[in-house]
């Protein structure tokens, strides 16, 4: 092969591959949501997730909206659970 062909094949092709990969990696905008890292403050508003209403056998209406007229059945029974920190 001539010198030009040699350079094109052994330098040009790897260079082209590197350029294509660099474009694919660095050009897309990146995460819209910042990744959570422990130690960062939590800036989002508090949010509460509940299961699908059909999942529980008894009728469970959204409780937080009905806070004004929910009858508090808290009988003082001890609550269980666990706690963890990191």
């Amino acid at each position: 092969m001539s010198v030009v062909e040699t350079i094109l094949v052994f330098v040009g092709i790897p260079l082209a591959i590197v350029v294509v990969l660099a474009l694919l990696i660095f050009v897309p905008g990146g995460r819209k949501r910042p990744r959570y890292r422990p130690g960062q403050p939590w800036e989002h508003a508090p949010i509460w997730y509940e299961p699908h209403p059909d999942a529980t056998g008894h009728s469970a209406h959204p409780a937080l909206e009905g806070g004004a007229h929910v009858v508090h059945t808290h009988t003082g029974a001890p609550l269980g659970g666990a706690r963890g920190t990191w």
């Binding site: 949501r33 990744r35 959570y36 890292r37 422990p38 130690g39 960062q40 403050p41 939590w42 989002h44 508003a45 508090p46 949010i47 509460w48 997730y49 509940e50 299961p51 699908h52 999942a55 529980t56 056998g57 008894h58 009728s59 469970a60 209406h61 409780a63 937080l64 806070g67 929910v70 508090h72 059945t73 808290h74 009988t75 029974a77 001890p78 609550l79 269980g80 659970g81 666990a82 706690r83 963890g84 920190t85 990191w86």
Partner: protein, 152 residues
Amino acid sequence: MRTTIEQDADVDGMAAPEAFPEDQRLDSIFSWQELARLDEALTMSSRETGLRFTLYIGDLGTPTRTQAEAMHARSGDDPSEAVLIALSPGQRVVEVVTGAAAARRLPDRACALAVLSMTVSFAAGDLVGGIVNGLRQLSDQAGHPASLRHPY
């Protein structure tokens, strides 16, 4: 004057995500895929065990346990059968609160095991994975409700 949100909502009952300001969008904290995973985990755990699992993510004040227990009491019709996972990433605390009936099926040591695996995931930055695995562990420990057990 009708707003964009109302006009869009009439079409199929849901408003387009672009209609909300940036920080009110439903996917501002978790992506839609992550929200689907959370929804599935909460719903499946609740359905399999018959207990009502809910999840709170936000600040818990001080002391965190008191606030978590107050939220648990307001989490539904029957707090005795409810389990609340309260997660405060800013304070790096997770509280699991079980009602009286739920605690009979989910003793504190089972909750502590789930919390341990959850904190390991959270420390690595994986909130959704930690929550989903914690819910799976809790529902495995709680088992099926008594009415579904066959009297062999």
